[in-house]
Amino acid sequence: MDESHFLQLISAHQQIIHKVCRLYRDTPIDREDLFQEIVFQLWRSIDSFRGQSTTGTFIYRIALNTAIATFRKEGKKNAVSYVDQVPDLPPENEDPAIAERKERLIGAIKMLEEADRAVIALVLDEYSYREISEIIGITENNVGVRVSRIKNKIKKLLTNHYGN
């Protein structure tokens, strides 16, 4: 694949990379670094993409792999609560209540184990259990069990922190 075709592809699917960066890094600088790393790894891996899966599946796989495998400065696990983190600015015309709910959801997902974050991100982006099993490398049955457990965890986290 040539560079301009690749850039077109990444440009069209960059939301995926942004979402993965938000889930796996806390500060804007770390997210920017991870974004670059993911684009670089995608460029290196693009020749292995032969269209057996969708482009989104391929990008998600490389993005999650890169986010998980790269080392970063260790903080204390869950030591900084999501309510303490500076949220990204919502669009100007967005209802503040909805913007806050979005932040709460992201915050709750970020409190999950890294492996669970990957699964729930794929579920929320409406990938099928089969696609998720192919990206992660586990059985569809395993995906189903995990998803229901993760959803319960998120509900508990939201209830414990916000009571809704």
Binding site: Q14, K19, G137
Partner: protein, 180 residues
Amino acid sequence: MKNLWAGQPTEEKQKEALALMLTEKSHPILKNIRKQLLLEISSWLVILCVYYSMFDGQMRPWIANGVFIMSMVQAIAFNISGYLVARNLIHGDNLVTSLSGYLISLKRFKWTSLFSRMIFMGGMLFFFLYGLDMDIRRVLAVGFIVVVSAGQLWFLHSQWSLKIDKLTSLQTNLVDTNNR
């Protein structure tokens, strides 16, 4: 939940900015590794060029000179291989397989790193101590150097083990349905 997830605020990147990310030159992590690599390799090359006259290489036998040069060259080769490991994060068609492959290469790299450091330290000691009369003060000094070097090796080992253990537990977590 899906609606809230779909509407996450993101900053759109232009193609020009994306194009810059394809080169190793602008890579945030590799750029720093490359700088450090260049600095270390150039210092070692300078030492290799001047050691013969500066450290009395001409007064030592060929075996001591050979060990000195080999210790330096293997350290340079090891640094380059470290750069290549940092570049290659993707090792398979799914997350579990890829992490397994990456873990294998990290474990191999950890042991190579420890052996390379030992060879380097051993080589330096061999070169500088070759033919020296060992009185008690020298023996104590060498003992001190060995203890400090062993401490460094232990630190290096524990740093690598921490990283590897973290990834191993993440990989186990991905496969295990029964966790918490």
